[in-house]
């Protein structure tokens, strides 16, 4: 049954792969186009395999060394591994290599890291870091580090006390704690090198995101969009932790680091101090726009890309205006933080559509012209393709049920609101899709250059919303919205969709009972891994979506799977199991399903989760026998 190893990608099988994954009318035309593209490649470099039609820039996605040093795998955020020992044919034989308890029964959203022969994991609050020695049987603990964060921080963390992982660079492990510290550890010994206090829990500020290390700087952003916290991104010096620059996401241009280099593509983003003038007086100071998600980096353009969170409070009546620079995306110079361009996914957000999801950096032909693009499955329900040099929107197609808006005007770049779904004080608006948690929340997708498909774990939920009055009290919630969520069309609350970026449509989509709150990873063996909130860890075919293997873990999975080459030369797959996060708060926080508005309304859609899984926190690592 063992399948032969995948042959090196050749020009010949690229159109074949495309055809089998997307059996559509354009096959002949596509084939002709592929021939045209391939012809010069065949003559120019007959030995090295030609580049696939869509691929990440080489500088942002270097050849795979079998390690996993940052949650997104590489700066292009592809979450794609070139390892192919585990493939479509043999993945059904996967078995557990070892397990490890994190000792914390809260939502495990982190990605394990593998550097050399050591695996690093960071737990939810209290944010313990473990180093496991992969060169020894059973992967014994090499060291652990307990940062002892302030327990009170748990009371200002919006949606479970999660942590999305650490980052490795130059012999150090960098991670954030819930109470607002960024800490650098010696990767060999676990000894702290520096500890920078950058967030203040007394104004509701926490940190849950995974840092990204770029050019000797540790990039960190804050959480607190539900607490009236003003969002920022900071660059800390990787050597000693001092703050090199701080860019706020609301307020005057000087503090947003908008200067002469700022050249947004759309007119609505041009003007002085829009971060002040698009708000009622002073509201930008408590206006959210937090950066608790993902950052990508293009070394060729010397730009980092990061989203900005929802404006606060959720009740939009309290903040008329476009609320710059919330629910959008910035391109910044990593050396100075200076903004280069900005695009706003959701101006004057009405539904808590944070704009902080992952951005995958790719190079591809778009309508006949080679473009450097940025692909973003956004919370508001659209799959955006942006030109990452300018911020121009090339495409925005819904990848699931959306009725809160009627599309994106590609001339102005502006989201077209649906007047029937405008929220406000004292008004109940029913059946808004997607929910506050978005068609997709933080859970990162994966891209395979072999198939040209983006593998998107996402939700399928709708909601009722009612704006209510709210007072700002520093360090307490600033939301002003009653929400209750319900399953979306079809009744399946989650889906796992393979999206053909070039064709702007899905190739296949799998229904899941619960929201798919885990990340995804895809390999050169054409296998995609993701987890479900019941606790199934699944491997499906990258081409067809066929279920190839599944394993029931001890708790629901909301973590980010990774794959690596162990010290023995073999391929392993690892994932943290442990339900929680916003979607799983009903279990990890023991919430009461009789209140439809519990956990900002998410509990109403998850009433049966307590019967499907229990809290836990376990690392699972798999390999072939």
């Amino acid at each position: 049954m063992k399948q032969a190893a995948q042959p090196a990608r050749s020009c010949g099988d690229a159109p074949l792969t495309k055809r089998s994954s997307a059996p559509r009318k354009r096959s002949l035309g596509a084939f002709a186009a592929m021939l045209l593209v391939c012809a010069p490649l065949l003559t120019a470099a007959s030995e090295s395999p030609p580049a696939p039609a869509i691929s990440p820039p080489a500088a942002a996605a270097p050849p795979d060394d079998g390690q996993w040093t940052m949650p997104a795998k590489n700066y292009a955020s592809t979450r794609y591994s070139e390892l192919a020992e585990i493939n479509e044919g043999n993945v059904k034989n996967l078995q557990v290599a070892f397990t490890f308890s994190t000792g914390v029964n809260k939502g495990q959203e982190a990605a394990p890291l593998v550097v050399g022969s050591t695996m690093y994991i960071v737990s939810p609050f209290p944010n313990t870091v473990y180093a496991l020695d992969l060169s020894k049987s059973g992967a014994p603990m090499k060291w652990k580090y307990e940062p002892n964060p302030e327990p009170a921080a748990q009371g200002v963390a919006c949606c479970d006390v999660v942590n999305r992982g650490a980052a490795f660079a130059n012999g150090r492990i960098f991670f954030n704690t819930l109470d607002g510290h960024t800490i650098a550890l010696d990767a060999n010994t676990g000894q702290p090198v520096w500890n920078a206090h950058v967030g203040n829990i007394n104004i509701g500020e926490t940190i849950t995101m995974a840092p990204l290390v770029v050019k000797g700087k540790v990039l960190v952003g804050n959480s607190g969009g539900e607490m009236g916290v003003r969002g920022w991104v900071k660059a800390l010096d990787a050597g000693d932790g001092h703050v090199v620059w701080t860019a706020y996401n609301t307020g005057p241009d000087k503090e947003v680091l908008i200067g002469p280099d700022f050249k947004p593509h759309y007119d609505t983003d041009k003007g002085k101090d829009l971060g002040v003038s698009t708000w009622p007086p002073e509201a930008w100071k408590i206006g959210g726009g937090n950066m608790w998600g993902w950052i990508s980096y293009d070394p060729d353009l010397n730009l980092i890309f990061h989203g900005t969170g929802n404006p606060g409070p959720w009740n939009p009546d309290l903040r008329p205006g476009d609320n710059k620079w919330t629910s959008g995306i910035f391109a910044r110079d990593p050396d100075t933080g200076a903004a280069k361009w900005f695009y706003q996914w959701t101006p004057h957000d009405l539904h808590d559509y944070d704009g902080i999801n992952e951005q995958i950096l790719l190079d591809m032909n778009w309508q006949g012209k080679p473009r450097k693009v940025l692909v973003r499955p956004e919370r508001n329900g659209y799959l955006y393709v942006l030109d990452r040099t300018t911020g121009e929107v090339l495409s925005a197609k819904p990848y699931g049920p959306v009725n809160s808006s009627k599309g994106v005007d590609l001339k102005t770049g502006r989201l077209i609101e649906n007047p029937d779904k405008l929220t406000g004080t004292g008004k109940v608006v029913r059946d808004i899709c997607p929910t506050a948690s978005g068609l997709k929340d933080w859970q990162p997708s994966a891209f395979s250059p072999k198939t040209g498909l983006l593998y998107i774990p996402h939700n399928n939920l709708c909601m009722d919303e009612e704006g209510v009055e709210v007072n700002y009290i520093a360090g307490t919630p600033y939301v002003g919205m009653n929400v209750r969520m319900i399953p979306g069309p079809g009744g399946n609350r989650g889906a796992f969709t393979a999206w053909d970026i070039a064709a702007e449509k899905p190739t296949w989509s799998l229904k899941e009972n619960f929201p798919v709150w885990s990340g995804a990873v895809v390999t050169a063996g054409d296998v995609v891994f993701y987890g479900t909130m019941e606790g199934w860890f699944k491997a499906v075919s990258a081409k067809t979506g066929d279920l190839l293997w599944q394993f029931k873990t001890s708790s629901g999975i909301i973590g980010q799977p990774i794959t690596y080459r162990g010290p023995d030369g073999h391929q392993y797959v690892a994932v943290l199991s442990g339900v929680g996060g916003w979607a799983g708060a009903i279990v990890s926080g023991d919430l009461d399903p009789r209140d439809a508005t519990a956990a900002l309304g998410f509990v109403n859609a998850m009433k049966d989760l307590k019967n499907a899984t229990t809290a836990g926190g376990t690392l699972y690592v798999f390999r072939l026998p």
Binding site: P151, I473, R484, A585, D592, D595, A596, A598, L600
Partner: protein
């Protein structure tokens, strides 16, 4: 005779209607009365001692006015931001039978006033003491621990759960123990 009944009946009705619950028109000082220790455990070496009660607790506990004020303040002071409408979120659920720091009026009052170490902020000096008692009384009503004659009977907002005066006692959920 019939006429006399017709006259008497409304008079009796009016007298009955005058039977209203007592209410302090002039609340005590904003910073509150004495602070009695409030144990958060039932485990006490040498045997359990009777915990001191605050006489204010009783005057707030079953009082419809204070309960409805507590319901209003629950939203105004952002309690609902963390605890939702009793089901919980950032903070624990308040409508279930689980009490981390005690279920008595005194315990809940102390929790709001002094905070608790795993995330409950201290609202001392932010909320006047009498209003803390009103909040404590309302919190108890969420789990059915208030007389249905006094607990709030309607919700002005989107339906989150049946009104507090219809909530079954969380410990028994309406069934005999």
């Amino acid at each position: 005779m019939r006429c006399a009944v017709a006259v008497l009946f409304p008079v009796v009705l009016m007298l009955v209607a005058c039977q209203r619950e007592e209410r302090d028109t002039r609340p005590q000082s904003a910073l509150g009365s004495g602070e009695q220790p409030t144990p958060v455990t039932t485990l006490e070496p040498g045997g359990q001692r009777p915990s001191p009660t605050d006489n204010k607790a009783a005057s707030f506990e079953a009082n419809a006015f204070h309960l409805s004020e507590g319901k209003r303040l629950f939203g105004w002071f952002n309690c609902s931001g963390c605890h939702a409408n009793g089901g919980g979120g950032m903070g624990p659920a308040l409508m279930d039978e689980k009490w981390i720091y005690g279920s008595s009026m005194e315990s809940i009052h102390a929790t709001i006033r002094d905070g608790r170490p795993n995330g409950m902020p201290s609202f001392r000096d932010k909320i006047p003491d009498d209003q803390i008692w009103e909040l404590a009384a309302f919190v108890r009503s969420l789990s059915g621990n208030a007389p249905s004659s006094a607990a709030p009977s309607r919700n002005d907002d989107m339906m989150a759960h049946p009104s507090e005066n219809r909530m079954p006692n969380a410990a028994t959920l309406g069934k005999s123990p």
